[in-house]
Subunit: 152 residues, 2 copies
DNA sequence: TATTGTTATACTCTATAACTATA
DNA sequence: TATAGTTATAGAGTATAACAATA
């Protein structure tokens, strides 16, 4: 029927969009948006980053980081701390509740993986994971950083 | 670093978003948006469908179909023809230029597949395709229909 | 003069409701 | 009354430009 239905690029895009939707739904169940999760995990991954550095690491514009940090700060998950080295900049710190919600979100990932690959054997899941990592690597994608945070 | 970087769901979502972006870029080079391509291929796949039937097939709301068909009609790629059976409805027909642009777009897919899987052997590409199709099947995804057309 | 964070504005895409003409 | 197509409005999300404080 559809000429693209069996193409690798379409299958990747189709299953990827579905995975992203499930990911977002699971996160929403614990009150977290995908972008908030992305920022929280980036803060946790590299310590003491400013808003500009976080925006660079996630490939997004610093303008969009402002409202995102506003929201996370309002929820008590991060703190803005004036940098001693550069008093224009804020260093973003994860609070204990922020770390807890990040841990909680991450703990849900294995179940999501299992649900997505429900029809595959453990061996096939491992193969799929390895092949996808090779595609990601070959395409120059940054590990752990989702392209959707980049905008257009 | 990032706790999710190696999870199957994140890898699928990450590589899928990248594939969708490349797909959109290649389509843009020939003046086609991803949604326009989706509608054109759905018209070609099942003949003589109304706007409502197209919206159902693609999982989108009929309100959003109006502007989409307006655009395709303005480009001369489709025609609205009053249905004889139900004079409220339009049957959407692909014009020769519409069929040509769809063929042109589809002809670009093999190169996109090759670029995405540049680091994989032909055997690995086949394995990846089979595993992705099994995931898509297990998740109940409609062949050839992209979840992004559905909205939220 | 350049950069960090911020705000304001416009543009796109989507969601919802209501209208018309047919059934 | 129910449905197909249409229109209008509001809401997200993003892009661009400009501003104040600091470098």
């Amino acid at each position: 029927m559809h000429p693209h239905a069996a193409s690798l690029s379409f299958l990747l895009s189709q299953t990827g969009a579905h995975a992203a939707r499930l990911f977002a739904e699971r996160l929403a169940a614990i009150g977290v948006t995908p972008r908030a999760y992305g920022v929280l995990s980036s803060i946790a991954a590299g310590g003491g980053q400013t808003q500009q550095q976080l925006a660079d690491a996630l490939g997004m514009h610093r303008n969009n980081m402002v409202g995102l940090i506003d929201d996370l700060e309002g929820r008590g998950w991060v703190r803005r701390v004036r940098s001693d080295e550069d008093r224009r900049a804020f260093t973003i710190e994860l609070t204990p509740p922020g770390q807890a919600v990040l841990d909680h979100a991450a703990s849900r990932l294995p179940q999501l993986d299992a649900d997505l690959a429900a029809g595959l054997s453990a061996a096939d899941r491992a193969i799929l994971g390895r092949l996808l990592r090779r595609v990601a690597d070959g395409q120059g994608l940054t590990p752990g950083v989702h392209p959707h945070l980049r905008g257009r």
